[in-house]
């Protein structure tokens, strides 16, 4: 592998890792703060991608579709929290696993009923449709760089939100001691609703951003769910920072696994996970 190719592969790894972070960040928030294990997280990614498809065909513009899609996803999250998840806080994890497993089936079939089972493409906005030449044969699509940039901005935004704002302070407090926060007069129910809706919106946003490069297709949620789990396990439950590091580690493991040991490509990610667990059973950045 020459240096140019190596650097391009590094870029591939970073770009893939950042997108994974976007999906996993919502999952780790909901895990860490609300103590909810949400298998339907991949479904929210899928819903986001399909929203991008439907809204883009209606409005003719992906950016407009995303602008509409984020509040819709947030509202969906808030509604689900009020209807279903609110019953789960005092249940054990097993019941959370089951209920959200049931939701996966429901969302997948609703998707099939509403949009059908065909593969659809989503157009890249004209503004970002160019490619930058990297070598004499290879160019890099601008849109992929845009995705990476959005992910970086969101990572910083989440950090600021959690560390520097009043909402973030309540979230941090809520994840440590639910009763205490309530005693301080903070409306914990509303706080949880916001956190859950935020998690859903993050997953849906990842789906919407990824739609133009991945196409939208049945079963697309399941593929990101497991990898998000691995990221949360490696990074440490509830740690957004850990999720970022873990997502990048996975991006590199996957990309270079494919290039260096193609016959073990699918396994590389899990070998990394096993190694981390052996070293730190509760993830790299386990808090508290």
């Amino acid at each position: 592998m020459d240096l140019t190719t190596f650097l391009i592969q590094v870029l591939n790894a970073l770009q893939y890792g950042l997108l994974l972070f976007l999906v996993a960040s919502g999952l780790t928030l909901v895990f860490g703060i609300m103590g909810i294990i949400n298998l339907a997280h991949g479904s929210f990614y899928m819903i986001g991608a399909y929203m991008a498809f439907v809204l883009t065909s209606m409005t003719g513009n992906l950016m407009l579709a995303i602008a509409l899609g984020i509040p819709l996803a947030f509202a969906l999250g808030a509604l689900l929290e009020k209807l279903l998840f609110v019953h789960l806080y005092k249940r054990d994890h097993l019941e959370q696993v089951l209920l959200t497993y049931g939701l996966i089936l429901i969302f997948e079939e609703l998707r099939s009923l509403a949009v059908g089972d065909d593969v659809h493409g989503v157009a890249i906005p004209a503004l970002f449709s160019a490619s930058i030449p990297l070598s004499e044969t290879l160019s890099y699509p601008v849109y992929r760089l845009v995705i990476s940039a959005v992910c970086v901005v969101l990572a910083v935004g989440l950090y600021v939100l959690i560390q520097k704002t009043r909402l973030g302070m309540m979230i941090r407090a809520g994840s440590h001691d639910r009763e205490m926060v309530q005693a301080l007069g903070i409306d914990i129910n509303r706080l949880y609703m916001i956190v859950f809706a935020l998690g859903v919106a993050l997953a849906a946003l990842a789906g919407m951003l990824a739609a133009p490069v991945s196409s939208v297709y049945p079963g697309m949620g399941a593929s990101v769910l497991i990898i998000s789990f691995v990221i949360v396990v490696i990074g440490g439950v509830g740690s957004v920072w850990g999720a970022l590091v873990a997502a990048l580690v996975i991006g590199f493991a996957d990309t270079f696994g494919k290039v260096l040991v193609p016959e073990l490509a699918g396994l590389a990610v899990y070998l990394v996970m096993a190694a981390v667990l052996l070293w730190r059973p509760e993830g790299i950045f386990r808090k508290g």
């Binding site: 592998m1 020459d2 140019t4 190719t5 391009i8 592969q9 591939n12 770009q15 893939y16 099939s112 089972d117 065909d118 593969v119 659809h120 493409g121 989503v122 157009a123 490619s131 030449p133 070598s135 044969t137 290879l138 160019s139 890099y140 699509p141 849109y143 992929r144 133009p212 490069v213 991945s214 196409s215 297709y217 049945p218 079963g219 697309m220 996957d254 990309t255 270079f256 494919k258 290039v259 193609p262 490509a265 699918g266």
Partner: protein
């Protein structure tokens, strides 16, 4: 509504109660009874549209004949195979053992079709494959009761290998999902390409159905071959072609493939597929009256244009018709019926074809170019191409 509904409901009640059920096996088929056709096709999941096309076209042919073939009414039993090999044996048994169908027709997914072949062989039930391209079906698993009206993965790939040479390529990189269909296709391509003096410089493969292609595109760009041959279908195909174009490779390194890359996926490629050259046993814009008539009727009845899968389903019904005519509708005369089917010439919308000794079509493979949402024929990549049928001793 399916005929067996009541029996199954009864069964389910029984199971839930963990009590006994009494299900009387259906009596042996009489000559005056309808011929039972078991359609085992995907109705849900990724391949749902393909299954629907096959089923639609099969029924269309039977209706054109007035709902009977050789004087026997045709009755259908259907199962959604979900393209799930894990459920394939059980689903095939639903039709073959429970419903006692006279002929089993299916399916899209090769793994499911392989399981069906085993069930059909055990029971010596006539089995017609209207899509699945696994070489083994008319290779090591070939059998007197097994016929195919579609293709082998090897066929279009081999033709594409020849065509790539003719179009001036000397070196190629191949990329496919690492599963049987992809491996067979790459093997076919490499065989033809290297026999004509070309060189496959690297065979890349990624796990099915992984769609993160960026690392491989980078590899391809650094290898700089004259051509790239890929085997993808469905969602993966759409994503690959988009990524290939976005990486700027489409303009510098020609992309060749078996036709499944661009069948039913051009819309999802959003223009990135324009101009792609592929090889397949069917194409848009064929100059043949049979095809035009078929397209008109199909469009009129179902409201969408037929595709290669519809053609294969239509021909499965035609092949069954030939067999039934030869025995006057008496499906018990198995040997005679199969001999007639083996010798048949099918007047297909794709152009007439015959069957090889292994019961696979000997057919023209067209070279096509993608324009808009169509794969227009631009020539014939290989004439009357027969699969080598490795491992078949029949």
């Amino acid at each position: 509504m399916r005929k067996d509904l009541q029996a199954r409901r009864a069964f389910v009640r029984t199971m839930v109660a963990v009590a006994m059920a009494s299900l009387v096996p259906l009596g042996a088929a009489q000559a005056a009874d309808p011929v039972k056709v078991g359609l085992m096709l995907p109705a849900t999941g990724t391949f749902a549209a393909l299954g629907t096309a096959i089923s639609n076209a099969f029924r269309l042919y039977v209706e054109e004949q007035g709902g009977t073939l050789a004087g026997r009414e045709i009755q259908y039993a259907t199962v959604d195979d979900e393209s799930d090999p894990a459920k394939a044996t059980e689903n095939a048994n639903r039709l073959v053992v429970r419903d006692r169908v006279d002929v089993l027709v299916g399916t899209v997914h090769s793994g499911v079709a392989l399981a069906m072949a085993r069930v059909a062989r055990q029971r010596d039930t006539l089995f017609i494959v209207p899509n699945a391209g696994a070489g083994d079906l008319t290779g090591s698993l070939c059998a007197p009761n097994l016929f195919r009206t579609s293709f082998t993965n090897w066929q279009p790939a081999y033709a594409m290998g020849q065509a790539a040479l003719e179009r001036g390529a000397k070196s190629a990189v191949t990329l496919t999902w690492n599963y049987a269909a992809g491996q067979e296709a790459v093997k076919g391509f490499a065989q033809a390409f290297e026999a004509g003096g070309g060189k496959v410089v690297r065979e890349l493969a990624l796990p099915f159905p992984n769609v993160e292609f960026q690392a491989y595109l980078t590899e391809i760009a650094s290898l700089k071959p004259d051509a790239v041959y890929v085997f993808f279908a469905g969602a993966g195909a759409a994503k690959f072609v988009r990524d290939y174009a976005a990486a700027g490779l489409k303009d510098s390194i020609p992309l060749y493939s078996s036709g499944f890359l661009t069948d039913g996926t051009l819309e999802a490629m959003g223009g990135a597929g324009e101009g792609l050259i592929t090889a397949l046993h069917y194409a848009d814009g064929l100059d043949n009256a049979r095809d035009q008539a078929f397209r008109e009727k199909y469009q009129a009845k179902y409201g969408i244009a037929p595709d290669v899968y519809a053609v294969q389903g239509y021909d499965a019904a035609q092949l069954l018709h030939v067999g039934l005519e030869a025995v006057g509708g008496d499906v018990r005369k198995k040997a005679e019926m199969r001999a007639a089917m083996r010798a048949a010439t099918i007047d297909s919308p794709r152009g007439a074809f015959t069957l090889s000794a292994a019961h696979n079509p000997v057919q023209d493979i067209y070279l096509r170019r993608a324009e808009g949402n169509q794969n227009l024929v631009i020539g014939i990549a290989a004439e009357k191409l027969a699969d080598p049928a490795e491992g078949c001793n029949m």
